[in-house]
Symmetry: C2
Subunit: 385 residues, 2 copies
């Protein structure tokens, strides 16, 4: 069913549009009016209300433009208003961060699944550390606008439960949302790893229109699909996951039931098993020197990734692919070659070139990325409740 619109929704929508414009830049009321299409007077009303609430603040004048007219007064999101926490659950490393509502990271810390013998122990340890650091930084949990948790799938989004991600028993079937909500009394969001990072890339690294597939390479190979900044989730939030796209129908049987899945070839561990090397960075370095083994590894990696990605490009009608994760080091070695492959092997590329680029975020951003759904929720609903 379509979404109902009443006057209250009008207000929250327009307020969100303005906050969204201000996510990572400072803008004047006049600029906001031009960008959003809202009347100047409406922008004044809305922004002044948000200033009196403490969500926005004036941030001085813009530099003089050498044009006639009054100088613009810049507005920005007031980081002091509050903060959000993000927790990234990962098979090897759990990371957590607190960012203010303008997206600025205030602190972060790490924990390791291997150090815990039970879910309860892990969770209570993270919560304790989080609480201590919050105090340490002079913050008060009453100002916490939300918590985001990102985790490998499968997840039950509606119930907020981590189901049974492969090789990740620590949080199996744990209702993390309910747990954290009753602990902190603020809204908690569970989100797929890849989706969280894709949103972080969009809002805080480089905002792009059009159709983007954000590909994450880690223990598995995941993905998230962004259309003009909006996640396309599919039926159960798994759209964009390309780990089980077959790149060889006669390949080995995968646990998913298919043969020759991308994950059987292109994860770091699969690559190490097949070619027997120690460090990918070393391979990337050797590749530059024309080392023949490194060339084989890279060629194999490019071909398998490209094979799966061509399918995704055709089905999603993509504008660009962003590569994130394991192969971050000298990533252009891959992206240049994958881009070339895709633009000679897909129907789409007859209409427009598909771009393949490395992600602009470091692995350290994963916990801040987890906070993004909580920030989004705050931006959308702050005025009503």
């Amino acid at each position: 069913m379509n979404k109902l619109h009443n006057v209250a929704k009008l207000k929250t929508d327009n307020r969100y549009i303005i906050l969204d414009c201000l996510r990572h830049i400072r803008l004047s009321r006049a600029e906001l009016s031009r960008m959003t299409g809202l009347a100047k007077s409406s922008v004044t009303t809305i922004t002044n209300e948000m200033i009196s609430q403490g969500i926005l603040c004036e941030a001085g004048l813009a530099e003089k433009s050498n044009k006639a007219g009054r100088t613009r007064v810049l507005l920005e999101i007031n980081g002091d208003f509050g903060f959000a926490a993000g927790i990234n659950l990962h098979r090897k490393r759990i990371s957590a961060a607190v960012t203010d509502i303008s997206g600025e990271i205030i602190f972060d810390f790490y924990a390791y699944p291997a150090d815990f013998s039970s879910t309860e122990e892990a969770v209570s340890c993270i919560i304790e550390e989080l609480n201590r650091k919050i105090k340490e930084n002079g913050l008060d949990t009453s100002r916490m606008v939300g918590i985001g948790v990102s985790s490998p799938g499968p997840l039950d989004y509606e119930k907020g439960i981590i189901l049974e991600p492969p090789n990740f028993p620590l949080f199996n079937n744990f209702a993390i949302v309910r747990y954290l909500e009753s602990e902190y009394g603020c809204p908690v969001f569970l989100e797929n790893n890849a989706v969280a990072s894709a949103l972080f890339e969009h809002y805080y690294v480089s905002r792009q229109e059009g159709s983007t597939l954000f590909v994450t390479v880690s223990d598995g190979i995941g993905g998230a699909l962004l259309q003009n900044g909006k996640i396309y989730r599919g039926s159960h939030g798994a759209a964009g996951e390309l780990g089980h796209i077959s790149v060889d129908p006669e390949g080995e049987l995968c646990e998913c039931g298919n043969r020759g899945c991308l994950e059987q070839y292109a994860t770091l561990s699969a690559l190490k098993n097949r070619f027997g090397f120690e460090s990918y960075n070393e391979i990337a370095d050797l590749f530059g020197n024309g080392d023949s083994k490194a060339e084989k590894v890279i060629e194999f990696l490019v071909n398998t990734l490209s094979g799966a990605l061509v399918g995704a490009v055709n089905l999603f009608d993509l504008d660009r692919i962003i590569l994130y994760g394991e192969y971050n080091y000298k990533c252009e070695i891959l992206t240049e070659r994958i881009e070339k492959y895709i633009n000679t092997h897909s129907v789409i590329c007859k209409a427009h070139r598909v771009e393949v680029v490395p992600s602009g975020q470091s692995p350290e951003c994963a916990s801040a990325a987890a906070a993004v759904p909580a920030l989004n929720n705050f931006f959308r609903y702050n005025t009503t409740h």
Copy 2:
């Protein structure tokens, strides 16, 4: 940029929501209120306005329910208000239809590309025939709310131009939207074949929530992706097209640059070339009798289609696949087997079963399907302009 919401948009949105509910069923005001979440009083205001405009009409009382309370007064879309035309351009057969705004087909007719030597000849012939039939049926073009044209891609949606679909030179680079708009003075919409049929299926055959891939098999193999009835288009309107998904990386080189594309195996002509038979219906009949050649053909067809569809299921996180076109006859032979294949070869199926079903529409619906975008536009914007 996000969509701006003002009071006028509120009105058109809520009006559209109500019309959308009434597309193919009659409902009372009370039912509309419950379905949409709009207050009873709002539904009264909106529906009474549309009744006075002639878009809706009261359609008698509902059967008595044996429950206490006043009997419901049913509302329906008033077919007499106006009509839309749909033109389906196809390599073998051009079809056109006029439906009233309730989606009822008033008349349709056919023309054949082979009979025309130029674009102008084809277009003017279709327009003449359309005008004659409109008069014949006592209609007046002043009541035409819009025209939809569906065509094989690639298309330029924004400019309303048919680009250069393979093997379809008759309309190459023809600006059909501009032409028809100046001819009729009503809004004209150009839409991909598969998208138009997918929308028709959703609105007028069987409405389904969730994530659906509508697959069309004809000269080529196309597709359209529906998420809760909304088309996901991708960057240039080509999302869902699975004709060039590779089902054999070592297969023959395709003109798209890839190897072993689905279209090289699973179209009717490809199948005829490979197995040398005359009629697919005959194969389907023989298959029931255990004929070994028919079994080979069906097995091949099932495997190639399934191979590509598993990829689509994984990437789109689909709930169901609808099969439309060439293999309509005894289609369950295919759908049952493809469904079984998919549900043993995709990651998604661990979370939920994927359904594969034949389309409920006959090939004759293609022209009515072309009219759907015009009807949608009318439903959305009728009150403002």
